[in-house]
Symmetry: C2
């Protein structure tokens, strides 16, 4: 059935948040404004159409809370199909393209994994993420060494920022991988 509705980061973020806790459109907008998820749009012109698409595709359903009011408050929660679609989206492979152009989405997917996918799969995802990020970091660093000296100052510096940014993410991934392994009962030392 494909459910291609989770194409946008915003839809994925909404479905993930609703899986943690049902909320209204306004509640989601508050979350997007008040937490680290502020990188997403909290504008009504983005959130409400996204909610409608998710509902039309059967991934979420809403309960109207004050049916008497002119603008009743509607609280949304994922359907079984929605939960399946979310898990499916989280499980997709990690590609180099993702690492180069959609790192935000990879981290968004990772952030929702606890409780929804097994620790083994989480580990596999993060391993791939670490590998691809390290690979791309090395590619960028090579490019910096090769063409950096010929670039104008600010151009070279901007490239260096890219190198440093991927390096930081690669380190974070390795560190987190270590923490994740420690909390896994089956692998490594028996706790």
């Amino acid at each position: 059935m494909k459910t291609a509705t989770l194409g946008s980061d915003l839809s994925l973020a909404i479905l993930g948040l609703l899986t943690i806790r049902p909320a209204s459109g306004y509640g989601l907008r508050k979350t997007f404004r008040a937490t680290a998820m502020r990188a997403f749009s909290a504008s009504p012109g983005a959130v409400y159409p996204a909610l409608r698409r998710l509902r039309e595709d059967g991934l979420i359903e809403g309960k109207v809370e004050r049916p008497h009011a002119l603008r009743p408050r509607e609280v949304f929660a994922p359907t079984r199909q929605g939960r399946r679609a979310l898990v499916g989206a989280l499980a997709e492979p990690v590609t180099r393209e993702d690492v180069v152009r959609r790192m935000d989405r990879l981290l968004l997917r990772f952030s929702f994994m606890t409780g929804l996918v097994g620790e083994a799969e989480t580990l596999a995802f993060l391993t791939r993420l670490a590998e691809e990020t390290e690979k791309y970091y090395r590619d960028l660093a090579d490019e910096f060494r090769r063409s950096g000296p010929g670039l104008p100052f600010t151009g070279r510096a901007a490239l260096e920022q890219g190198v440093e940014s991927y390096r930081a993410t690669a380190r974070w991934a390795r560190k987190t991988l270590g923490e994740l392994r420690k909390r896994m009962p089956s692998k490594g030392a028996v706790r």
Copy 2:
């Protein structure tokens, strides 16, 4: 006159690249594929419409190189107005919103500054960027300390990645600021 055409990162990147060196649409696409600018789209469906908009707004002009062929190669270069618009876009203020949601664009703007805006302005831009990035890094780190312990493992880890990423960028900005000050002969006055 406002020239709002540089709304998209891709348009800005194209205008910047053409200012460094005139190129055809295909040439730009090659650059987007082969260099660190691969974070931008190299697809013809993005590049050619962007070139047309820039030309329609008088920011670039094209010289057809092989007028006999069915698909003649057209090399574009910025007009005087285009150069002005680019400088104007680079000079815009750095806001917290930019740092939170449009860091890519800030770095893109910075990367084109050498030769187009004075070193004093470049210094001012980078100073603001460093300040705002540090401020947001501290906000994120606070959020991590406050709400981190209550989050599920992968959610907390994703937030930590955000913290580390902004920290790396803040460090890069400070370091680059030092290098920039060193190459400025006259304005040795720090602080």
